[in-house]
Subunit: 301 residues, 2 copies
């Protein structure tokens, strides 16, 4: 399945990321997405681990949907040889899984500071100054990309760097802006290392328009993910993502920038939110379709 200009502004461009309906079986989630009229579906590695890539692909493609991307590889910030070897091994598996799924795009969350004790928590008691050295950590991310790029190329997969909102810089991603992701991608072919625009993470960036245009000009715009920023934040900030239209983000403007940059691929809704997870899956899929139709698809070209 491919998107063409004839699908511009239609739900055929829309994708449901399985993280939005994480307490539902893959088969039920895919069926709900198909009934809602969406054209694509985005699995995570958890489903591949549970069912195998062949079965995940059969379920999604059997429902007539395309596989927009695989979430996610990454966590590239280990400093010790054993940690580095484990990072390369795990991401090689992720690359192989993406290939088996038949998707081109492997989303990568690069990882946080080694000082962290756990996601969402403070530093380890024994964390050193070096564990807080974010400049050095970013250099290691670049080193690991250099290790992984030839592997990705050999499997026909693109490593898609996801800048995360700076709220997650300590514990999940030392890559915080689209421009920074593009700088990290620059040494590699556009078909091997790309970037994703996730509105939740980048909506605030004063350089966003220029960085989206640059990503398009470089051929690195690999995915467009949408959900809304709202306040107050959830107790776990990670799960503070909201339905498109419920918060502060200007989807009309950002979507038009993404379209002007030449992006013609799937537009994926990815929401981490306890209330959304508690809702019936079809209700969520239908709401995703309605929100995209109202706030996003009219601005797609």
């Amino acid at each position: 399945m491919t998107s063409t200009s004839s699908t511009a502004g239609t739900l055929a461009r829309a994708s449901l990321n399985t993280a939005t309906v994480k307490h539902t079986s893959l088969a039920e989630a895919v069926a709900a997405a198909a009934r809602a009229g969406l054209g694509w579906f985005g699995p995570w590695r958890e489903q591949v681990a549970e069912l195998g890539a062949v079965e995940v692909r059969r379920i999604i493609e059997g429902a007539g949907l395309g596989i927009s991307s695989l979430c996610r590889g990454g966590f590239l910030t280990a400093a010790d040889p054993k940690g580095i070897a484990a990072t390369i091994e795990d991401n090689t598996h992720a690359i192989e899984e993406a290939e088996a799924l038949g998707t081109h795009e492997l989303i990568m969350v690069v990882g946080g500071l080694p000082a962290r004790s756990a996601p969402g928590a403070g530093p380890r008691p024994d964390a050193t100054a070096a564990d807080r050295d974010i400049v050095a950590v970013r250099a290691r991310v670049a080193d690991r990309l250099a290790d992984l790029a030839p592997i990705a190329r050999a499997h026909g997969i693109r490593l898609v760097l996801e800048p995360l909102h700076p709220i997650f810089a300590a514990d999940r991603a030392v890559v915080s802006t689209l421009g920074q992701a593009l700088d990290l991608a620059a040494p590699f072919d556009a078909d091997v290392v790309g970037v994703v625009v996730d509105t939740y993470h980048v909506w605030w960036d004063p350089d966003l328009r220029a960085s989206i245009a640059r990503a398009g000009a470089e051929g690195r715009l690999a995915s467009y993910q949408v959900c809304d920023w709202n306040l107050p934040l959830a107790a776990d900030a990670l799960n503070s993502r909201h339905f498109v239209g419920d918060g502060y983000i200007d989807f009309a403007t950002i979507t038009s920038w993404v379209s002007e940059a030449g992006y013609r691929g799937p537009i994926e809704t990815e929401i981490f939110n306890e209330d959304v997870w508690a809702a019936p899956v079809q209700e969520t899929a239908d709401r995703v379709a309605r929100d995209l139709s109202e706030f996003v698809l009219p601005y797609v070209s």
Copy 2:
């Protein structure tokens, strides 16, 4: 009182911002700062409103401390003529208060999106697409700076733009990076519009080193504020600031960048944190002095 090279790396450079001890009277807070050996004190407009600028100045200078800055003006994002007029009037008062205090630096938090219902809460039910147009809101910030700069100049005051962490982009400040603040300051003389580096807000920024160097080269580095980023976030993210050394920030590196950029002014600890506010004021002032001596002052030149 001035800072000279002879005070480099000593507590004579250190300032206590009154927001760190907000449930204490100004006189008690100033006395605690003086006993802890700090050389400076940073009041807010609340104390000026309560006691008058003359009395605030008498209390701080009477204890042998300098006044490092006044917090804060700003909130420049109103779109309607009445709101714009009120913004100019309020900031003119802030400029006059800074002059009466004898400080040169008026810290400015520029304000969030007009869509907001309240700080820390979601959008108003009647918020429009225009209320979410962050590009237009930023243009209004530039317009208000153009209105206020001549007034500041006439009073010998510098408007000091504070980029806030992107977690606050919706409700408190559409200026999120130091580079963006410098771009907004660029049309004005360095003595009229400057910037502040607050570690909490900018530690994650991949362009931080370059932006600090630029701020120094342009003569706009007006203040250096320190506190730490830790997880989990407090229920009100605004009050999630921590003692230096308790979190993820690499103070050695950022402090050395600020020093290399030529900054020789006060180094101010500003912590919003319910636990810190509940502690005895002298304990807090002593902790501030100890943390600065361990994590910050050794890297000052």
